[in-house]
């Protein structure tokens, strides 16, 4: 097998475009799922009546169905109900729907880790409810939650590989198309893996550093 450099140079711009598109979708998906997750976990933490059941159902539905089917349902099923959205919007909504429940679970683990004594001390020095959340609960919960959030971000970044299924020219879609057109399978697969490594290795290294930092913050070693 010979490496076809000229061919690689030819398709490289296509991969670069797909790379940025994939990254853009992932960043939007991760940002939105962080917001959804935080809101859901606070609803569950404060046992907001009515909303608590809704978020519980949402978390179970989102965690127990595959992203591919969620996307197909959103993209092909919902348009029939009169909701029309672009492929990109649909992919971001799908990623946020999936990621929101994972983020919610991570946030909840962090909130549960803040001890009762912290809450009572805060109240006894006269903090309002919002001050308690902003200055006592969230900063402590955040430290415990960070590694979980990072792992979820990597998970979502990898899940973006599926959005090609709804006609988004992402890395997978571009690879599949080009393999069909040119049969330069070896080069194209190498580019695909390379692109994902460039995207994921730094994030994964950053996560490992973060985990060490948090462990140090928690146990001092």
């Amino acid at each position: 097998m010979e490496w076809n450099g000229a061919f690689v140079a030819k398709v490289l711009p296509l991969y670069a475009k797909a790379f940025w598109l994939t990254l853009e979708l992932a960043v939007w998906g991760i940002a939105l799922s962080l917001i959804i997750g935080l809101v859901c976990s606070l609803i569950q933490y404060y046992r907001v009546r009515g909303l608590q059941q809704v978020t519980a159902i949402y978390v179970e539905v989102s965690r127990n169905t595959p992203l591919l089917i969620q996307l197909f349902f959103l993209y092909y099923g919902f348009t029939k109900l009169g909701i029309h959205w672009s492929e990109e919007t649909c992919a971001i909504v799908g990623l946020a729907f999936l990621g929101g429940s994972y983020m919610a679970e991570s946030f909840r683990a962090g909130l549960d880790a803040v001890s009762q004594a912290q809450l009572e001390s805060g109240l006894s020095i006269g903090l309002s409810r919002w001050q308690l959340v902003l200055y006592v609960i969230l900063p402590q919960a955040f430290a415990v939650t960070l590694p979980g959030l990072g792992a979820n971000a990597i998970f979502l970044l990898k899940e973006t590989s599926i959005v090609g299924a709804i006609a988004i020219p992402d890395l997978m879609h571009v690879t599949q198309d080009l393999i069909g057109m040119y049969y330069q399978t070896f080069e194209l697969l190498a580019l695909l893996v390379g692109a994902y490594l460039i995207m994921l290795l730094p994030v994964s290294a950053a996560l490992r550093w973060l985990e060490r930092r948090v462990r140090y913050a928690a146990y001092g070693r």
Partner: protein
């Protein structure tokens, strides 16, 4: 406006065909889970041994599957290996191979974590009693590790069931592919077909995965206290 056209699911042999597709999906999921359980236990045990090379291989195996998305792995094996060796590979075989290797890596890590989380004095007491290596694992370590690893292993099985939806990308006639065929056939007469078919597949996956994750959560809380 209420969506109509639910008849699309009941006419002809649609339900039977979807059930057939689901059987293919379930077959791939079940085989992969079975193979990765055996392989994962072995890998987990091997990774606790004080052998540098073995530990490195285990770590590399896990990281390769953690960093590169499973769909990319399916592509590498399905398109790459036939191209390299000039053979044809059945999509189902590729799917079971990739899912098994992935599941084995993840389960291996769960098993390793469970074994290494046991207190050191368990190993030392066993050795002091004069137990052999196999007796130590068989009677002391594995029975205690099981409780720590089963909830995680069930959650992994749920993830594997969900991931089987990807096999439609490598040409397997699974429940998603059959659903697409049903939609394509009836989309002109029943515009709502895609809503109902994908809705049904959505519910089917939920019915497969929800009991599994409930069971894992139940065992987790039961064995915690």
């Amino acid at each position: 406006m209420l969506p109509t056209g639910v008849e699309v699911l009941t006419e002809g042999a649609v339900l039977e065909r979807l059930a057939g597709g689901l059987a293919v999906t379930a077959g791939v999921a079940f085989s992969s889970i079975a193979i990765s359980t055996g392989l994962g236990l072995l890998i987990g045990l091997l990774r606790t041994l004080p052998l540098r090379l073995l530990r490195f291989c285990g770590w590399l195996h896990l990281e390769l599957f953690r960093i590169i998305p499973i769909l990319v792995w399916l592509f590498i094996v399905y398109f790459g290996i036939p191209n390299l060796l000039d053979i044809h590979l059945d999509g189902r075989l590729v799917a079971v191979a990739v899912f098994s290797l992935w599941g084995a890596a993840e389960l291996g890590d769960i098993v390793r974590g469970a074994l290494t989380s046991l207190p050191v004095h368990q190993v030392e007491s066993g050795k002091a009693l004069g137990l052999s290596f196999w007796q130590l694992y068989r009677y002391i370590l594995l029975p205690q590790a099981v409780r720590r690893l089963v909830p995680g292993a069930i959650n992994l099985a749920t993830r594997m069931v969900k991931t089987t939806s990807l096999i439609v990308f490598i040409g397997v006639a699974d429940v998603v592919k059959i659903g697409q065929q049903v939609i394509e056939r009836s989309i002109l007469t029943v515009p709502m077909a895609s809503f109902w078919v994908y809705g049904l597949i959505f519910v089917l996956y939920f019915c497969l995965c929800y009991p599994l994750s409930r069971w894992a959560k139940h065992l987790e809380t039961k064995w915690e206290g």
